[in-house]
Amino acid sequence: MITLKIDGIEVQVPEETTVLKAAEKVGVWIPTMCHNDLFEPYAVCRLCSVEVVRGKRSRVVTACNYPVSEGIEVLTDSENIRWIRKFLMELILSRWPNVKVVKEMAEKLNVGKPRYESLEKDEAEDACILCGQCVNVCREVVQANVIGFSYRGIKREVVLPLGEQSDKCIVCGACALVCPTGHIKMVIEDYKGKKPEFTLGPKTSIYVPTMQGIPRVPVIDAESCIHFKTGGCEVCAKVCEPHAVNYDMKDEIVEIDVGQILLSTGYDIFDASKMTQFGYGRLNDVYSSLEFEMMLSSMGPTSGKVLTKDGKEPRSIGIVHCVGSRDTNHHPYCSRVCCMYALKFAHLVCDRTDAEIYQFYIDMRAFGKGYEEFYVRILDEGVKVIRGKVAEVSEVTSSGEYKNQLIIRCEDTLAGKILEVPVDMVILCNAIEPRKDIDAVRRLFSISKSPDGFFLERHPKLDPTSTMSDGIYIAGCAQGPKDIPDTVAQASSAAARILSYISKGEVEIDPVRAWIDDKYCAGCRICNNLCPYTAIDFIEEKKISQINDVLCKGCGTCVAACPASAITGKGFSDAQIVAELEGLLAI
């Protein structure tokens, strides 16, 4: 530890600490403009100049990169330093008189109108003040090395290589983030044919997926994380005190032996861009239900504010029901949850904005406990409900504050009128549809799907949670669209079923099994390879095959194949089937 004095205050700091950090520790303010903790001190603004007294000698140094040493005394507010700061500040202010951070700093340092006139005066409010933070962050943190300084002296400027957008730029936005004047802006534009995506996803690459999730730990999105693009950054690892950030984690396959499986693989939402008339993905401010849900979330990109893409509060919002559901071109079934969440959206929007809300519905299905009451409450809140399927959402350009407005065209089937409703935002209630990989999953567990594409239950009324495969249960939207109470009920039922088998400790098996009559088995071994469960073993000593009763599922493939008719399928023996045939063909 090193002991030093700053403006008469004694302080102990570790070696290698800079004077700036030591001053921070005792609460002494030193002005800076180019310093940022993200990267090594750059010391170009010189505003952090301080006087260091060692014995009888004193010298002026920059606090941001001057390491402390034993016994020094630092003066941050001496006559000399005040004069130096004023002089530097005047130079800076004379060149960039209108930049906000410069003006603020000048005010703090009591610098009025500069005494000098700059040859390269830049009067822009967002002028580049050459602090170099963007260059340093790109070089040291992002490690993309895209931005650099060019020219010297008064002509110095921040440039891209050859003045062009570089392929090496990963468009991370770090430079724009650190820029103190706003000179660097993130502009969404077509760049080399890549259309930028409008998303309402997480704001950062490291984020907590859901605040209610268990365990509530952040995840890194490798696709957008700077570290996975350039190998640099690692800011999150640096700030994490328990050192919990690990960039080397890989997906791993874990094998677990289980006796029963509950499939609750959920659903996907219908891709509304398939219905081009709604303009999803084409028009601004047309959102899918999940995107809007994200917008409403206090952890979301707008911190829960309802805003259009221009950042304005919408004056009116249209909510379109049944996008892809109850539609013979897409999904004939009703997605069941949309009416209620659309009403919830309306309620929350009413709460947070003064926007007028229009609901366009085919039938309002408020069928659950307390649902109809909620619907009535929404009507009382002044939400306009229009019975009619929306034909088209189009964009019109108008003058005024709101340049682009959406028009919803629809027939009000109760009033018998064609309506054109101008709105600032459209929310689509996408259908719930089976997961894209549902076929692969159901084949893995050898279960069927119903005509709508969801997992098929053993019986739609009497056994809605188990499947044709023993020990495989289904719950939630994997079995069909349903809301949270229904999912909880179904999943609880499945869990109870599973537990009942576990507490029983033994499994009942179907009596339908095949057995081999030793007397007739010739030991030809044809059946051995046919069995999909490898339940048939050949016994070398006896030269016959034998069936393992527990492994056999009773499909009867071996029974049909046995050339000696030595195998009998219990419940489905040759004699029984032939008797059935005779009976059926007797008349």
Partner: protein, 149 residues
């Protein structure tokens, strides 16, 4: 009286039998000519059952199994498929039109497919006419024929 074909159907328990059941539950009208025998798997259908059925007077045989890849027993339907292929060749040598034997993949949720197949197959057998296989082998002696005349 119009010829009413007698069709024997072997349906697997998990897919086609359930699918046919669904057709019934959904009140989809399908011909009553089809007489169903349930087996656990289409792989259980022994080719001798089919010959036996023809012998006992069936005019057509329908075998229903799960779609390829969907078999409850992994691969029983593939075994049914190869047996049916071989059996078709054998039927031809017996002088039985191979159209009288049909194999269909109908899943548990395809009640409408069952209805369609049942209707179409019944119409096909109806147009092929009665098989009367057993009677063909019971041709009476010339003397008896004379007496009959």
């Amino acid at each position: 009286m119009e010829f009413e074909p007698r069709i024997i159907a072997f349906f697997c328990n998990w897919c086609t039998y359930t699918g046919a059941d669904l057709a019934g539950v959904s009140r989809l009208k399908s011909p009553a000519n089809i007489r169903v025998i349930r087996t656990m798997c289409s792989g259980r259908v022994d080719p001798t059952f089919i010959l036996k059925a023809f012998e006992l007077g069936a005019d057509g045989i329908l075998i229903g199994g799960c779609h390829p890849g969907d078999c409850h027993y992994s691969e029983g339907n593939y075994k049914a498929l190869r047996r049916v292929h071989l059996l078709r060749k054998m039927l031809q040598s017996f002088g039985i039109d191979e159209k009288r034997l049909r194999l269909e993949w109908i899943s548990a949720s395809e009640g409408d497919v069952y209805q369609h197949v049942a209707t179409e197959f019944t119409a096909q057998i109806r147009s092929l006419g009665p098989l009367n296989w057993k009677q063909r082998f019971e041709q009476k002696e010339p003397k008896e024929q004379l007496i009959a005349v």
